[in-house]
């Protein structure tokens, strides 16, 4: 057997928001830990392609109706709410807490209003369903108002002129960038002594006396406990630890569209048609862009099926234009596909339990919405590990604060000058569309970014309309320089995604040799 590269108390598998929240929570304790991620950057799975909202109340009610497509047909309204699931519990507990944690971790966020609009009679019926369910549930779920035409246009002036009524909730949605949440949580864990390994796909798990060995593509790790937070891939990881799993996973894909910042004024928050089972239609302001998700839950059999189908994009745009008529295909700057994951045992809930055959292997397979309940989830996981014999001794020097990489674009000129005086690389703008400087890129690399996509997620360089046409070569060269590797070795995301295939003249010299 190969020599372990590390010895730890806990290995967390999966660098999405779930794994990230768990390491951050566990980093409060005196534990040796490592987070392993198969991708070339954190947040390589569902978290990367998620809509990006922390939401509650009205949107959660809509979400219940949307997801009821997975329940037996004819399930009555009242049964869409499951008071006793971990999922409901964490969703209800989680929201309040985020405000302080987002601030603690210096994560860019913004409360945005939710407006569910309705036009035809059918839609009004569907809207009333959401309204009634919300009111039945009471509390936060009922904390919205129904508004008439005039009111609607004062709040979202560009919606379909035919709308007749709307439900409006001012502070039920927090717009965040999910990868930033995952990365911020891990960065804070790193500050508190935890490690993470990228490109470290777990390929096997074995038992060795009192320990377990996690075999990864970067070497094996000897550990006491394992947490499986690999979500869509979690079934396979679970099987590596032994058989006897009584749940499976199912996958649903939808396409998402991002529009140019030029359109950002078209909506203030999230605007959607009333949810119906299995279908969602929304247009949302996503930081400085517009994000569109108008589609259905299309079944697929693989968590990696992020294949985007052109026809779906076109259909989606057509529906989006019924919400906001002035949207245009011309403004599309990106399209991608997200795969949602549900378990087959109880689609309503998460799977948070020890492996039936291995009491030191904890499955944490989260259903969506997965971000809201992350914080209580992580505490719960810590508790379970403790019960299973993992000693949790608090560190007295735990620091809950993380500072973001400076967002040059958002700073005043005075602040910018101060930064440039300290480090002139902050004066070198590399990405024009998003105004990202060399200083930010170098800092992202210092914090662990090693791929083009990593730089994109951590700094936004290359996320703008030109998609790296100008900054791409410059970013790649900075990566090579800082990581001290050859330019051809820089990857887009994982090890098998090289950007450049050879040096100039190499092919000519090779073919010469071939002939000779």
């Amino acid at each position: 057997m190969d020599q372990p590269i590390l010895e730890t108390d806990v290995v967390i598998i999966g660098g999405g928001v779930t794994g990230a929240a768990i390491v951050r929570e566990l980093s409060r304790y005196q534990l040796r830990m490592v987070l392993v991620e198969k991708g070339g950057e954190l947040s390589a799975g569902q978290t990367k392609v998620s809509l990006g909202n922390i939401y509650t109340g009205l949107n959660l009610v809509g979400s219940m109706i949307l997801k009821s497509v997975l329940l037996p047909p004819g399930t009555p309204l009242t049964e869409l709410y499951h008071r006793n699931t971990l999922h409901t519990k964490w969703c209800e507990e989680g929201f309040k807490e985020w405000e302080s944690v987002l601030t603690e971790l210096d994560i860019k966020h913004r409360y945005v209003p939710l407006t569910i609009i309705a036009q035809g009679d059918n839609q009004i019926k569907n809207l009333e369903k959401i309204r009634d369910l919300g009111r039945q549930l009471g509390g936060r779920y009922a904390d919205f108002e129904q508004i008439g035409r005039e009111e609607i246009f004062t709040r979202e002036s560009n919606v379909n002129p035919e709308v007749r009524t709307a439900l409006y909730a001012a502070r039920h949605v927090i717009d965040i960038f999910p990868p930033e949440v995952a990365i911020a949580l891990v960065e804070n864990a790193v500050e508190n002594g935890c490690r993470f390994l990228l490109n470290a796909e777990v390929v096997g798990i074995s038992q060795s006396g009192l320990h377990q060995i996690v075999h990864t593509r970067r070497g094996s790790i000897k550990t006491n406990f394992i947490v499986n937070a690999a979500c869509g891939w979690g079934d396979k990881i679970c099987d590596m630890a032994g058989g006897g799993r009584d749940w499976g996973l199912q996958y649903k894909k939808t396409v998402m569209i991002i529009l140019d910042t030029r359109c950002k004024g078209l909506v203030h928050g999230m605007v959607r048609w009333p949810n119906v089972p299995g279908r969602l239609d929304l247009v949302q302001r996503r930081e400085d862009n517009i994000l569109i998700e108008c589609g259905t839950y299309d079944p697929t059999d693989h968590p990696d099926d992020t294949y985007t189908i052109r026809e779906d994009v076109i259909k989606s745009m057509t529906v989006a234009k019924t919400l906001i008529p002035s949207l245009s295909e011309k403004d599309i700057i990106n399209t991608f596909t997200g795969v949602r994951v549900f378990n087959t045992r109880n689609v309503e809930d998460h799977i948070v339990e020890f492996h039936p055959a291995n009491k030191r292997f904890l499955n944490v397979i989260i259903r969506l919405p997965g971000i809201i309940g992350t914080l209580p989830m992580a505490r719960h996981v810590a508790g379970m590990l403790e019960e299973a014999g993992c000693k949790l001794i608090r560190k007295n020097d735990f620091c809950p604060h993380r500072t973001a990489i400076p967002r040059f674009r958002d700073l005043s000129d005075d602040m910018r000058n101060r930064m440039i005086r300290d480090d002139s690389r902050y004066g070198h703008v590399v990405c024009r569309c998003e105004t990202v400087t060399e200083g930010q890129i170098v800092e992202a690399i210092r914090r662990g970014a090693s791929t083009e996509e990593g730089i994109r997620m951590r700094t936004r360089a290359g996320m703008g309309r030109c998609k790296g046409g100008f900054c791409g070569p410059r970013v790649v060269k900075i990566l090579a320089r800082e990581l001290n590797i050859a330019v051809e070795e820089v990857k887009k995301r994982s090890l098998d995604s090289p950007l450049l295939l050879c040096k100039s003249k190499e092919l000519l010299l090779r073919s010469e040799k071939g002939i000779a």
């Binding site: 100039s504 003249k505 000519l508 010299l509 073919s511 010469e512």
Partner: protein
């Protein structure tokens, strides 16, 4: 004797006339047709006899902030020799300082043309 007809697209002006050049087995030109002006006829004949091209490419630079130096032939060379020149130039490495017009390879492959720098190469 057989008559071979080649079609040559005239690139002298945007009209892009399709000029046909008929020749015998020895490649002696028999007739030229389809052009609309004298320049076009001349071009087609020359292109038929021996198509000539300017080669523009790069050579590897060392000890410089630049990875490459752009270069060109200072005279046209036969089209069929472009690849030979590329292979030859793949092995050439240059050092600064160099400026546009500096000769990098004299009389490349005896084709009667020099390879000259078209850009500046600094340390």
């Amino acid at each position: 004797m057989t008559k071979h007809v080649s079609e040559i697209i005239c690139i002298v002006c945007p009209l892009a006339c399709r000029v046909s050049v008929a020749a015998d087995d020895e490649r002696h030109i028999l007739e030229v047709d389809g052009f609309q002006c004298k320049k076009g006829k001349e071009y087609a004949v020359a292109e038929y006899r021996s198509p000539m091209r300017v080669l523009t490419t790069t050579v590897i630079a060392t000890k410089s902030r630049h990875a490459l130096l752009p270069v060109r032939t200072n005279r046209v060379i036969p089209r069929g020799k472009l690849i030979n020149c590329m292979n030859y130039l793949a092995k050439i490495k240059v050092k600064p300082p160099l400026k546009a017009g500096d000769v990098i390879v004299r009389n490349i492959l005896n084709l009667g043309s020099d390879i000259i720098a078209v850009g500046t190469l600094l340390d």
